[in-house]
């Protein structure tokens, strides 16, 4: 709401009110008249009320026209906070800012005279106070903003810390779970190791206990076959030979079981010695000669002129190569060839055993080195064994730090290649 405060001199001029009316469209008009006798502004009677419209305001001013002459008017307006309007004696209105064009004495006089003005002035003080308050509030707001920022920062840090804590809790949980898993796995591993050891012991003890009587049986049959108990007739010899071979197969399986238990034990270490390979292979060929001869198979041995030696455990390598050569004979039809080739380079000794046998199907190649593996082929019905032969070969080669590979074509034969590091 606009408030108009007028300070009027008694010497007003005609037309002032109209000008004033045009100039201000305030809804409330307070007029104060300067009394020359007193020398102060006094509230003009009838003007300290709210004017509803311009017309009523004019009427009120006109009713005082003969009593008062307007000389100065100070107006206050909410929009401009404080504006001084000076009215000259010729009735024209001009504007100035307090302290520049309005004499101090005039303002003081007006303030002394008018409680209303004092109130307005106090309003200014209030405004000043408010500004201080505002400033303080702004300061406070700024501080609060700072605090808020700090709080926000603290909140963020707490949030981060919370996330970290959650992550740490998760990590601890996971670590605990991991430890549990590790403990469980360790226990399972130890259990399995124990079971494996017990199994190895069982196989070892059982096989050993079985092998002694089996050996005795073989030797007693040997005594009969070698005529320690006198001459045998043809039938007796024939039957005994069957029993003898059967007993040998049994012993061979027992030996394979014992060898497997030994090589699978956790503390196995092979004693190796630099050994020439050619005599080892020749010895095997000599020992297996009756086997090849029985199937009318030819065995060729190809080797380089120079000495080929490697750090090996002779007995174990002999066992591995014997198994491979026996297999070559077993899975090759009568009348065909088997070739053993010895070679070496700077790093490895290579022994290849090539047969012209039935071959191995691709899907079986992956399994043939597993324990107790027997694969079906056209000759498997005629072949006996523990299913441990190739497992032992692979294990022995591995324990030498070597490797074994096989390539095969059905109906054409297989090539087993053993590579041992020099």
């Amino acid at each position: 709401m606009n408030t108009f405060v007028g300070l009027l001199d008694k010497d007003r001029r005609e037309g002032f009110i109209e000008d004033l009316t045009r100039q201000f469209e305030a809804e409330k008009l307070l007029i104060f008249v300067r009394d020359p006798e007193v020398g102060k502004f006094l509230p003009a009677p009838g003007f300290d009320q709210t004017i509803q419209n311009g017309k009523m305001w004019q009427e009120l001013l006109h009713s005082h026209a003969n009593k008062s002459v307007f000389s100065d008017i100070i107006s206050f307006n909410d929009d401009t906070k404080k504006r001084v309007t000076l009215l000259s004696y010729d009735g024209k209105i001009s504007f100035a800012v307090v302290g520049v064009e309005v004499p101090d004495a005039f303002i003081e006089e007006a303030l002394d005279a008018l409680p209303f003005l004092a109130t307005i002035f106090q309003k200014e003080k209030v405004e000043q106070y408010s500004r201080v308050q505002l400033s303080a509030a702004e300061h406070s707001v700024a501080e609060n903003k700072m605090i808020a920022l700090k709080l926000e920062e603290t909140r963020r840090q707490l949030q981060k810390a919370l996330i970290r804590t959650r992550e740490e809790i998760e990590a601890i949980k996971k670590a605990r779970e991991f430890k549990k898993s590790v403990d469980l796995l360790t226990k399972q591993r130890n259990d399995l190791l124990h079971i494996n050891q017990v199994k190895d012991q069982f196989i070892s003890v059982a096989s050993h206990q079985l092998r002694t009587p089996a050996t005795a049986t073989k030797q007693y049959m040997g005594l009969l076959l070698e005529n320690y108990a006198g001459e045998l007739n043809e039938k007796q010899v024939q039957y005994l030979q069957i029993a003898y071979r059967s007993n040998e197969a049994q012993l061979s399986i027992l030996n394979d079981l014992l060898k497997t238990a030994q090589l699978d034990s956790t503390d196995v270490t092979l004693q190796k010695k630099q050994t020439p390979l050619k005599p080892v292979i020749e010895k095997i060929i000599h020992q297996l000669a009756p086997t090849f001869s029985l199937k009318n198979q030819q065995l060729f041995f190809e080797y380089p002129d120079m000495d080929v030696s490697a750090p090996i455990n002779k007995d174990d390598i002999q066992l591995a190569l014997t198994n491979l050569m026996e297999n070559a004979s077993k899975y090759t039809q009568a009348g065909k060839n088997i070739t053993v080739e010895l070679s070496s380079d700077e790093k490895y000794v290579t022994i290849g055993i090539q047969d012209e046998g039935v071959g191995i199907r691709e899907k079986d190649i992956l399994n043939i080195f597993e324990k107790f593996t027997r694969i079906d082929n056209e000759l498997s019905d005629t072949v006996t064994g523990s299913g441990l032969g190739l497992y032992l070969v692979k294990r022995i080669v591995q324990l030498h730090g070597g490797e074994i590979n096989v390539t095969s074509t059905i109906g054409q034969g297989s090539l087993f290649t053993v590579r041992l590091p020099l």
Partner: protein
């Protein structure tokens, strides 16, 4: 055979002991027996055999312990063949180091081959 060699068989299995005795008797050797290493030690000193056929796995004192305790220097002329069933282990080099003259697997040779082996070993100087 001009000289009758004496052979001490140290073997705990009665059947295998019996077989060795049959083979060596038939081979013309003078055969004595013991069923463990400790007995064998006493028999060695008492009989001073030309050759000992030594089993490996035995109660009381096994073949390895026998070799460890048998002072070869005191009996330089006694040949020792370790006659074992330990096919699964590489015992040959260990036994030779302990003083054995040869190592043979029981199940790998026939009675006659055993007889021949003993003959060959005794013929060695």
């Amino acid at each position: 055979m001009n000289k009758q060699y004496s052979v001490l068989v140290i073997e705990d299995d009665p059947c295998l002991l019996d077989i060795c005795k049959i083979v060596l008797d038939a081979g013309g050797y003078q055969v004595s027996t013991a069923t463990n290493g400790l007995e064998g030690m006493a028999a060695s000193k008492a009989n001073m055999p030309d050759l000992i056929l030594l089993d490996l796995y035995m109660p009381v004192m096994n073949g390895r312990e026998f070799l460890q305790n048998f002072n070869k220097d005191d009996f330089p002329d006694i040949k020792i063949i370790v006659y074992s069933n330990a096919s699964e282990k590489d015992i040959t080099s260990e036994m030779l180091e302990l003083g054995a003259d040869d190592v043979v697997l029981k199940s790998s040779i026939s009675p006659r081959e055993l007889n021949d082996l003993v003959g060959r070993m005794l013929a060695r100087d």
